[in-house]
Amino acid sequence: MRSADALLEVRGLTRRFGGLLAVADLDFTVRPGEILGLIGPNGAGKSTTFNLIAGALRPDAGEIRAGGEPVAGLPPHEIARRGILRTFQHNRVFAGMSVVENVMVGAHTRFRAGLWSIVGARAGARAEEAAVRARAEELIGFVGLAEWREADVTTLSFGQGRLLEIARAMAGDPRLILLDEPAAGLAPAELDRLAALLRGIAARGIAVLLIEHDMRFLLPLAGRVVVLNFGVKIAEGSADEIRHHPAVIDAYLGDPAALVDAARAGESTHAAA
């Protein structure tokens, strides 16, 4: 594909930990508004890739471009400024703030008022604050947490914390949301809700890059899938192509449960189709 269409373009991305090659010469692109799944067995380099894109790790080699601009090696807050926001695998909500304030932190990069106009309580600063608060409340409704809007976040369940993290990332008006194993630790009913939510996000034109272990959750959801094993891309394609790809079946042979999951995921999509 032409790189002008790519929201995020990863070329030759490489990262070592000591002698271990965690990610090797990885290429892929994320297009606007799509849901791209990144899967692989444990230790395949998914989380490393994620952290390289989010700025939590620096690559040893390779390029990452966001909307054509090179962003590899930038610190996390600069990545966020460029419209790429993430969630954490183990929820990292801000425990000392209400739900709505948590979401408003996500809009940090959207604020234009300087400290002087805040101290002076200038009309512009106040209007901006009110607008961001209204938008945060809208997003809390969007992820289904409206009832808990003013709640203390420590009272939320794990699944609600995950939804809060998604709302928080949405508040930054992202072009791309990075989700690190969002299905982990969720009950089946919560999984359905999460899948619907992610489709809703993509429908708003926001691209979703999803790292997932749970193929049953991922395959019906993702438009395209990139499969990693030992840091190397072994396959890329639609969910159906991936399901029947010999290299993928090989990679998951050590993990029969995952294969069964993948097969079931196939059945459920076929049933739905």
């Binding site: 996390p76 807050h77 990292r92 703030m97 932190v105 940090h108 101290v119």
Partner: protein, 308 residues
């Protein structure tokens, strides 16, 4: 205009109180107001931004000494001395804060503890400039435009300083900046992932609150008309931390409650236990952390909930 009216009413009531008090009680009242001012600033630094620093009281001292030295030794006019003193504190605060932002948790506390102790060494060894162990005395607030502010009127100046500090910090706390500070306190990684520049947020919070402490110190310099090293020692730096924790860290009402309670407690306790009120402070500190981490203000909330 409703909030403005509330601030004006507070200023009027707190100022009026000064005229009702004797000159001894005015002195107690001024120091109480200054403790509240310091606790409000320290609450922002420790309670909101999550930085444990022991340098807050040293900056109070730098402010007090710098105004005296700049006005009476360098001969600067008062307004210029205030600006120069604040600039000096900002420079010192930046010099400490920029490298310290790499330190996490209690390591910042120990670096700033060393700074605070070093400040006392410099005061003691500063010769004629700082007056050594005896400090500086025998000076009076110079007249501004021919007016000499004295007595209850000087208390009014401190009331306005306290309310100004409170309003400024309350506005910052409710803005994106306050949320960024809390986010950095609760989870620096998540804050950075939301676009918050963690190092810069920490440096701004530290420098700003240090400068506010320095301004309070400048006001203090003309309360006793003497500045000397023991006032700015470690004891009071600890007391400030205890005030904010016992009152309830992270909330202005908590900082105010803690400052008022711990400042006034010795007056109540001294007939009973003499000068050993610090023992009570220590016990209260441990009890607050173990039993009521939200402090006095959390206790008040809990009682009100039970009553309702």
């Amino acid at each position: 205009m409703k909030p403005l009216a509330r601030w004006l009413a507070a200023a009027l009531v707190l100022s009026a109180l000064a005229f009702a008090l004797s000159s001894y009680h005015n002195d107690v009242y001024r120091k109480l107001l200054l403790w509240v001012t310091l606790a409000l600033g320290y609450n922002f630094l420790f309670g909101v931004a999550g930085q444990v620093a022991f340098s807050h009281f040293a900056f109070y001292g730098i402010g007090a000494y710098s105004i005296v030295i700049l006005t009476f030794q360098a001969g600067l006019p008062l307004p210029l001395a205030i600006v120069a003193g604040v600039a000096l504190c900002v420079a010192v605060a930046l010099a400490v804060a920029i490298p310290s932002t790499r330190l996490e948790g209690f390591y910042l506390a120990l670096a700033t503890l060393a700074l605070a102790q070093l400040f006392i060494v410099v005061l003691n060894e500063g010769g004629a400039v700082t007056g050594g162990a005896g400090g500086l005395a025998d000076y009076r607030l110079p007249a501004i435009l021919g007016v000499r502010v004295t007595g209850p009127w000087y208390t009014v100046v401190i009331v306005l300083l306290m309310l100004g500090t409170m309003a400024l910090l309350a506005r910052l706390d409710r803005s994106w900046f306050g949320r960024a500070c809390r986010a950095v306190r609760d989870s620096p990684e998540a804050a950075a992932a939301m676009g918050v520049n963690v190092a810069r947020t920490k440096v701004i919070a530290f420098t700003l609150t240090s400068a506010l402490a320095a301004v309070a110190g400048m006001a203090y310099a003309f309360v006793d008309n003497t500045v000397n090293p023991p006032i700015f020692g470690l004891e009071n730096a600890f007391l400030l931390l205890f005030m904010v924790i016992i009152g309830g860290a992270g909330r202005q009402a908590g900082a105010i409650a803690g400052a008022v309670a711990l400042y006034l407690l010795p007056f109540v306790l001294s007939p009973l236990i003499g000068h050993h009120h610090a023992l009570v402070f220590g016990v209260l500190m441990v009890a607050a952390i173990l039993l009521q981490p939200r402090g006095l203000i959390g206790l008040y909330d809990a009682l009100r909930r039970r009553a309702a």
